[in-house]
Subunit: 218 residues, 2 copies
């Protein structure tokens, strides 16, 4: 007979694959998908460029995989909260806080996932990611309406609004400057969450918002 992969080899292959994915993910975390160049990935992973193509059929395939892995973690987190059995408004608050909070803390990665200019192939992946978000929001809002907790609105549109408002307010070019954000991310998150809740018709249980600053932009 000829050749049959032994476990050790299989493991090594898996390792290499992992290290390629890790390298790519690292580049994304540093400079977004724009910074993913095959030569760089190879260098960082400690393999030759040609090797990349033994594990991924193309740059696109590699990037897709990275996108999936990174986004899966986020989605899972939100999905879990969403499926708890608390009242809808409570779940909504938690989901929004988690979404906004995680984005604010991992801004670079969040930017790559949500807002970075990227080409059509990856845009597809992002579309899925966003749709999933929106679905999670929509589901909760729908529950809330069914239970009479929320006023009747078009859940899909409200969900889309939320899915757009949060990233833009946090990480888009409109976002408060980084230092500002870093100095008090929780305030910002809270404010954004409030906007979305109000938009979705959640009667703001918490009475205190204590806001002082009110800045006119330039």
């Amino acid at each position: 007979m000829a050749y049959r992969k032994t476990d050790k080899v299989t493991a090594r292959l898996a390792d290499t694959r992992r290290s390629i994915l890790d390298a790519a993910r690292g580049l994304v975390a540093e400079g977004g998908f724009a910074a993913v160049q095959m030569t760089e990935v190879a260098k960082k992973a400690g393999v030759a460029t040609g090797t990349l193509y033994r594990y991924f059929s193309s740059k696109e395939a590699l990037c897709r995989q990275v996108f999936r892995e990174v986004s899966a973690r986020e989605m899972g987190m939100l999905a879990e909260i969403a499926s708890s059995d608390e009242p809808a408004s409570e779940r909504l608050v938690k989901v929004l806080r988690t979404f906004a909070g995680r984005a604010v803390r991992g801004r670079r990665l969040a930017y790559a996932l949500l807002a970075e200019p990227l080409d059509v192939n990856l845009a597809e992946e992002r579309a899925f990611f966003r749709r999933t978000h929106a679905d999670i929001f929509a589901r909760i809002i729908e529950d809330g309406i069914d239970d009479g907790e929320l006023r009747r609105i078009d859940v899909r549109i409200a969900a889309a609004c939320i899915a757009g408002a949060i990233p833009t307010a946090l990480i888009g070019p409109l976002a408060p400057e980084s230092h500002e954000l870093d100095s008090n991310p929780d305030r910002t998150v809270e404010e954004i969450v409030n906007f979305c809740l109000a938009g979705a018709g959640v009667a703001r249980a918490s009475g205190k918002t204590r806001i002082k600053e009110r800045r006119t932009t330039a």
Copy 2:
């Protein structure tokens, strides 16, 4: 003496410049900035590719100019409404309706301006465009708060939320499918506007104000 541009020549030059810009704008309207290729622009404008470089120093310069011209019209429109002396909540409603309404009707162009993946140079231009939007929203909200019409919120964040929610809900991958949108764009617009108003704390006075929106569309 040698040569001095005559008026006729100056006019012709201006014409050529215009036709180049128009050609580029046309391509943007059809396929976004991604569809702007110098050879295509030249063909469409009826000139040689080299000629383009007599009028614009680079592709980037051309695209920037196109972006500015297109976005200026939109911003002017909103700014005008915003500066009227109606009560803030009224202005806010009008501005949002106009923004959303125009985007929905010129979805392709709106996509190019607001959401299309584009490279950093143009992204700068877009950032300015968005910031201006947000400033307009912020100004109105601030007025509303000062007049006691709106509850106190962080105006910049609310403005950013609005600026993010509208495009996403309308033209992003989350948007209702086109046929759906086309069949009843006004409903969708109204629903989005409602979300934003609620988010900004406008007590929905709505006895349904039928507003004739201004069309100046290209």
